[in-house]
Amino acid sequence: MAAVMEQSTMPAAPEVRIRNLSVAYQTSTGLFDAVHKLDLDIPKASITAVIGESGSGKSTLAMAMLNSVTFPGSIRSGTIEYAGRGDIVTFDRERLRRFRGEHAAMVFQASQDTLNPLKRVGAQLLDLARSHGVKDKRKVLREARELAERMALPADRTLTSYQHELSGGMRQRVSIIFALALHPQIVLLDEPTTALDVLSQSHVLEIIREIHRERGLTTLLITHDMGVVAELSDRVVVMYAGRIAEDAPSRELLRRPLHPYSQALIRAIPRLTGPLDDAQALPGAPLELRQIPKAGCVFRDRCPARMPVCDTGTPELREVAPGRRVACHLEVTP
């Protein structure tokens, strides 16, 4: 297991290469970066988690990765290169459409209604196949049925259902079926288990893990839950206020977080064992878009280790060990 992990976190040729990405939102008081000058490589055949709270920019990053940031947001600068496919930011409309769903697909939150309420699930799968010029449409349906069986869904009933006839947990699994239907290489999971309770969550995580391994997918997991990160991902990127605070192999981050924010996040997890006082809440609240300071460290107001330099100097994201990056003025050693 450890060996597998080592391999996947090696900085070999990345599947996705994000450079200098800024995504801004236009508000009545100006233009604000939800994602700010972000550099990130997503290694092939691994599960990379992006963790962050509200306003961290994690969802914006996910949308940017499919070049689907919608008004009033827009990609201001940067490139998102997919291995062998090019920079998605420069794709024209038709190329972008083919790319989505065929090469990279998204699994949505259980609480989201991602199906057309007026059409049966099966008919919408056929729409998907037709949109991407699939010849053997029956194969798509057959595979969807197999996936449904694996996910403990009654296959025939599911495909003939309308959305309102499915429960939250079922919709979540149907969303996975849609994402996998066209055999994409890259899967983006947007809070896949939020709004599910623990039992459904563990089951969905199990399925994702299995299919990821079977198909050799490159998976990006967006979440706010450190537990999900620990269960599923090989590598984790901690985001705060549109910037990467820390980037490390998951187990190492949990074992020894370097950035004060990562430390605080892990310390804030209620635990089943150990003294209650071990866990502590972080003072303050996550920043809203327009509160993000232009200069200095964005985390300084909530940081227990704040220094004078944090007010003026913006900490660079620097590599402190192979595969570990931290953006903090503190001297840290892994």
Binding site: T70, T114, L115, L118, S131
Partner: protein
């Protein structure tokens, strides 16, 4: 099974509504200051008709006796209604109201439904355009036109049409449903004449409803465009054609609520449009019956207009239930 129940409920609701309206008009007319029935009786007596004959004449006219307990009159009236007997007209002495209404109703229903159809189809299409291309010139001018037309009262539109098309340019006739020189029948000449005479009123209906539909469809489309499943469809790479179909069908549904609300407006508008264009439908009849104090005709026209609205309402509800699986599937 459930669907049949749903149907039955709708129909019963409609019947109950008709009953309420019938009762309402009955008592309203009976409670009028200077009861028209008594007034008629008095005027007959004054003109020298013997009491018994006058009473019979009035009874024949209104379908009931002017004296006697109200409740008896009421059930008598209901009984007559069930036989589609609405009494006799006063203005067109001796002609049965049912007969008058039957010759007027087709014109109104024909024009209102056609007007509604055109305004609905055109408005919905323009609404999609206004929403999907809302940031371009086409979309914005569609919105502007709709807002403008929606803001102009129906009678003003009708007046403008009348002035422009009949007085200024003399393009269309007005004042009759067809050319008096042509014998009614299923001949091309007759149908052509009917269409020619109906164009202006239908246009007035259609244009006065158009703006409202465009604005309603536009806001519905914009709200659907913001729904998660449309974003999901885009992220799954569905083609633009399929996505527009998803949007249009979903945005279309809420319009049925407005459709039922607009039916009353459309049929009510018959009064305005038919009066302005001198078109002999129910609205024209209703308006004229006031001046002529022709209460049986007024009452009948009011009833039949309301009934038409109720029936169209039920049809719209049924249509809706056929399109929306959330209602269709038990």
């Amino acid at each position: 099974m459930n669907y049949l129940k749903f149907l039955a409920k709708k129909l019963l609701g409609g019947l109950a509504m008709v009953y309420v309206v019938v009762t309402f008009t009955f008592f309203l007319i009976r409670l009028m200051p200077g009861n028209p029935v008594l007034a008629r009786l008095t005027s007959l007596l004054q003109s020298g008709v013997p009491y018994q004959a006058a009473k019979q004449q009035v009874a024949a006219m209104y379908g009931f006796m002017p004296h006697g307990p109200l409740i008896v009159q009421y059930f008598d009236y209901l009984g007559q209604l069930l036989h589609l007997n609405l009494g006799l007209s006063i203005a067109y002495a001796g002609v049965s109201v049912t007969h008058i209404l039957m010759s007027a109703a087709p014109w109104t229903i024909f024009m209102v439904l056609l007007g509604l159809f055109f305004s609905f189809i055109l408005g919905v299409a323009a609404g999609v355009v206004a929403a999907v291309w809302r940031n371009s010139i086409i979309g914005q001018s569609s919105t502007f036109l709709a807002t403008l037309l929606h803001g102009i009262p129906q009678f003003m539109l009708a007046l403008a049409f009348l002035y422009l098309f009949t007085t200024e340019w003399r393009l269309f006739p007005f004042g009759a449903p067809y050319d008096a020189a042509i014998h009614p029948g299923f001949s091309p000449a007759f149908v052509g004449s009917v269409a020619y005479h109906a164009i202006l009123p239908i246009l007035a209906y259609a244009i006065s409803g158009y703006g409202g539909w465009t604005l309603a469809m536009k806001s519905s489309v914009i709200s659907v465009l913001g729904d998660e499943y449309i974003l999901a469809a885009e992220l799954r790479g569905l083609t633009r054609g399929i996505r527009i179909r998803y949007v249009a069908r979903n945005a279309f549904l809420p319009l049925f609520t407005s459709l039922t609300l607009s039916l009353g407006f459309m049929f009510g508008g018959a009064i305005v449009i038919e009066t302005i264009f001198d078109y002999p439908g129910l609205g024209y009849l209703l308006n004229n019956s006031i001046g002529a104090q022709d209460y049986p005709v007024m009452q009948g026209a009011f009833l039949i207009i309301t009934a038409a609205v109720i029936v169209s309402n039920i049809l719209a509800d049924l249509l809706y239930s056929l399109i929306d699986p959330r209602i269709r599937r038990a």
